[in-house]
């Protein structure tokens, strides 16, 4: 397995991560995954749907609890952390396939929800945020070029615009890492490239590490230096985007259930 640039300290280190869902008939969604992601890297996790990409991201910010293995963030283990989950989660921005904006709230309020993790419950329940938070939110909106629509309701926006707002919400957390789960799967190609462009550019400018799930090879080649290929819950490739040969792609997309065991042996 390719190790990332050893000079850079890993931002995220995943060690032997496995997850089997209750009721999943014993088939693991993740099977002994180990990956290192360097600070500032734009990593694409490539694989067909059902490969376990979503579960992997959700194990990092603990929306899903892994069955085995560890995740280290900046050297600190976060899988075993039993205390304040909020403190962990706010360090990871997340972007979803379905955007997951609160449709009836304004764009600005949606972005401000990215600040909730830093604020106590009582004041925010009145939808009142400190001036500093508003500035952060509007700056993040400006980064994805959506500040001119700050006061519209989220459901008046197109899909691409909604996803840009969702990216702004993730940025507003001032995270060290953004986890993007199929961010462009519901968008047409032109808009998809635009949205990925905004994601990569703002991450670069702010020095944020990105783990981005994709299932389209073109985008992976276009937007990332390094690609991790997943199939049936296991990592089957880890290397530069340029090294994605047809043979490797076949392994990612068309691997039969039996082949996993053969490869391990």
């Amino acid at each position: 397995m390719n190790m990332p640039d050893a000079k850079r300290k890993p931002m995220i280190s995943i060690r032997g991560l496995s997850k089997t869902y209750a009721g999943g008939a014993g088939v693991p969604a993740l099977n002994n995954i180990s990956i290192d992601v360097a600070a500032g890297e734009f990593l694409v996790i490539l694989g067909p749907s059902g490969a376990g990409k979503s579960t992997l991201l959700r194990c990092i910010n603990r929306l899903v609890d892994p069955s085995e293995g560890q995740v280290f963030h900046n050297g600190a283990e976060i899988t075993a952390h039993r205390g304040d989950l909020r403190a962990i989660r706010r360090q990871f921005g997340m972007v979803f396939q379905q955007f997951n904006l609160v449709k009836r709230l304004s764009v600005l309020n949606n972005v401000l929800t990215g600040r909730l993790g830093y604020r106590s419950a009582w004041r925010s329940l009145l939808y009142s945020f400190p001036e500093a938070d508003k500035r952060i939110a509007i700056e993040c909106l400006a980064r994805v070029n959506m500040d001119h629509k700050a006061f519209q309701r989220a459901d008046t926006l197109s899909g691409g615009e909604q996803q840009r707002v969702a990216i702004a919400r993730a940025l507003a957390q001032q995270p060290m890492v953004i986890l993007a789960d199929e961010p462009v799967a519901s968008l047409d190609p032109k808009i998809a490239r635009q949205v990925l462009g905004y994601l990569r550019q703002s991450a670069q400018e702010l020095g944020i590490t990105v783990l981005c799930n994709l299932h389209q090879v073109d985008y992976a080649r276009e937007f990332s230096e390094r690609v991790v290929g997943m199939s049936r819950g296991a990592v089957v490739f880890d290397g530069p985007a340029a090294a994605l040969t047809d043979e490797i792609l076949h392994r990612i997309y068309y691997r039969e259930p039996g082949e996993a065991e053969k490869e391990e042996a």
């Binding site: 600005l108 001036e131 508003k134 500035r135 509007i138 909106l141 400006a142 500040d147 700050a150 006061f151």
Partner: protein, 273 residues
């Protein structure tokens, strides 16, 4: 964008945000003031009075305490009334189902023979809906005499209004695709209704009919208050005679009926859908 222009854009949006928030706050305050004024005025008009409620607590407690323990020997006498309650609901709903089918077809825009018929039907159905079962029961009791028969008619009429309107709206909301396909094959109007519309509407209609039966059971438990049969008669009679232990038994039985019908209806609906 230069850093300077970026900052300027952010600052102006921020100013706009605080302006909008201020405007929203004012609007919210105006609405809140209006709501409080309306509630205050109407509350005063109907004598809403929390103090009276607090003062009434001992009376309520007294009322309840006199109901306990429920006189279970009274159950023996409630058997017939209980069955009657269910029977009223069964026939009331059944008649409503039968009546509501033609009314729904006449009162749906896409199946009505004529707009005049449509409006007349909708108006009639609205009239049926807006008059409570108990009002119908009162009228029927004085028209055809005391007893469950008046109760059946009362439930039937009110439920017809409800069911037919619901069904008419379902008919108006059917998927046009299959209907156009049938018209393209040269099917007649009646055939289109029978094979294009009815199958699409049936599941919702059945589901709503079952829900209506559940509602009718509840309604049937109080029809007796005006002499239209069922448990309500025992309820009001025992209360007027201050036999609160027996009243409690009546309420207990009503509970059981409502729960059982709720449970059974939910089960049937879940199986059908």
């Amino acid at each position: 964008m230069s850093a300077l222009a970026f900052d300027a854009a952010v600052t102006s949006t921020l100013a706009e945000a605080s302006r909008q928030r201020g405007a929203r706050l004012v609007r919210a305050l105006i609405w809140a003031a209006a709501a409080i004024a309306v509630l205050w005025f109407t509350g005063a008009q109907i004598g809403m009075n929390p103090v009276a409620l607090l003062k009434g607590m001992p009376f309520m407690a007294d009322f309840f305490s006199r109901m306990f323990p429920p006189d279970l020997s009274h159950l023996r006498l409630l058997g017939d009334a209980t069955l009657e309650t269910v029977q009223i609901a069964v026939w009331g709903t059944l008649i409503a189902i039968l009546l509501s089918i033609p009314f729904a077809l006449l009162g749906a825009k896409n199946t009505t023979p004529h707009p005049v018929v449509f409006h007349a039907t909708r108006m009639f159905l609205n009239a049926l809906r807006s008059i409570n079962e108990l009002v119908f029961a009162l009228i029927f009791v004085s028209a055809v005499g005391l007893g469950p028969f008046a109760g059946v008619l009362a439930i039937a009429l009110h439920a017809t209004g409800m069911l037919a309107k619901f069904c008419a709206e379902e008919i108006e909301g059917v998927d046009r695709g299959p209907i156009e396909a049938m018209q393209a094959t040269g099917a007649g109007r009646l055939q289109v209704i029978l094979f294009g519309i009815v199958p699409q509407v049936i599941p919702a209609f059945i589901s709503y009919s079952i829900y209506r039966f559940d509602v009718s059971i509840r309604a049937a438990t109080i029809l007796g208050l005006v002499g239209a049969g069922g448990l309500g008669f025992s309820l009001i009679k025992t209360m007027k005679l201050f036999k609160y232990h027996e009243t409690a038994t009546c309420i207990l039985v009503i509970f059981v009926i409502v729960f059982v019908s709720d449970w059974v209806c939910a089960r049937i609906r879940a199986r059908i859908i």
